[in-house]
Amino acid sequence: MEVPILKQGLYLIASIQSALTDADLSQLREALIQRVGKFRARGVIVDVTALDVMDSFAVRTLRDIAHMARLRGAETVIVGIQPEVAFAMVQLGLTLKGVSTALDLEEGLAFLDRQAQERIERTRGRIIRG
């Protein structure tokens, strides 16, 4: 099952539609990394709203995506983790430490915009505190 990846400006948005096998997840990781490089994307959003389970492999893969994206200059945000999935994850001991998370696509985009803004400000030599 291939995950559709959309390009929105300098951001890539991967919307997971249904349950993914380990192979699907690996494929998603490869596709995203490739596209980050190809489009010089500044941000990646992975929408996991449709996932009703996230186990250690899924978490590992998302962490890998974030790590590799950052190496290529892109910030990653995972959005749409369901309340029950989040609860199961923490009980399993899976944290997405070091990976940004947001409630949904809207919040994810807002987060990336803020990050981009801060980057611009830093480049200008000023940081404005809200």
Binding site: I81, Q82, P83, A86, L103
Partner: protein, 303 residues
Amino acid sequence: MAARGKDPQSPAPLDPQAHTESTAALLRELVAHLRQNRTQLREEWARRITRAQLLTAMTEEEIFAEATSVYDNYVEALETGTFEALQAYARNLSERIIPRGVETHEVVGIVLLLRDVLARSLFAKYHEDFDKLNRILDAYEPAANRIANTVAVGFVQERERIIRQQQEAIRELSTPVLQVRERLLILPIIGVIDPQRARQLTEQLLRAIRTNRAKVVVIDITGVAAMDSNVANHLVQTVEASRLLGATVIVTGLSPEIAQTLVTIGVDLSEMATVGDLQGGIEEAERLLGYKVLPLEEVAPKA
């Protein structure tokens, strides 16, 4: 049919097969009698219920209406020898009368009264044939006892179910998640937290974060006296899970004892945002959300 003496303790007949068949026939006869005399027996029963001062929470009309249903279900159970319908009815009846304040002893009481009323009517009918009376009672008693049992157990089970439901509701009520500003939730926790309550708390909070699109949550544990390491762990999990939903958690009201418990289980308190009291926590939350609280003069300058 072996001859039996007038002694009610006389042994069972010698022919078990004949005995079994006649039990069925006897029950049929019994059921017919109960159906024929339905009106009087039901009235007698209702009278007895009132005299024994049972079901005082209900009016006489209500008692009579329920008595009719119970009576008919009773007779049907005797007739068919199956008790599922009776059980279902008992549960349904219980569901209706428990909120009215009817107690267990009342339900058991009225069923036993019905058993007595029916037994007496059997005495009245067969008193001239003691032998027959014995046989009818042999058939009647086990069935009647089973019926009493079924109704009582049905009532008790329904009661337990309702109690559990109420406990659940109480638990939820005692852990309200409050939205005080847009995108800001407050969860004041008061009292004792057991693992089940802790878990319910987390589920409620996470759902609320999603529904309210909260970005900051203030969990106030001023009202929590003590926390064992399990529950402390749970608090940490709640904070982490909230973060996965994009919300920042501020914990307020941390007592020195609880802070110690957290450190003992390996929580890095410098990682967890904590503020002394709820007030301070809310202010910090507002700051994070970009709110500034201004005195009125500044906001609405006088014309």
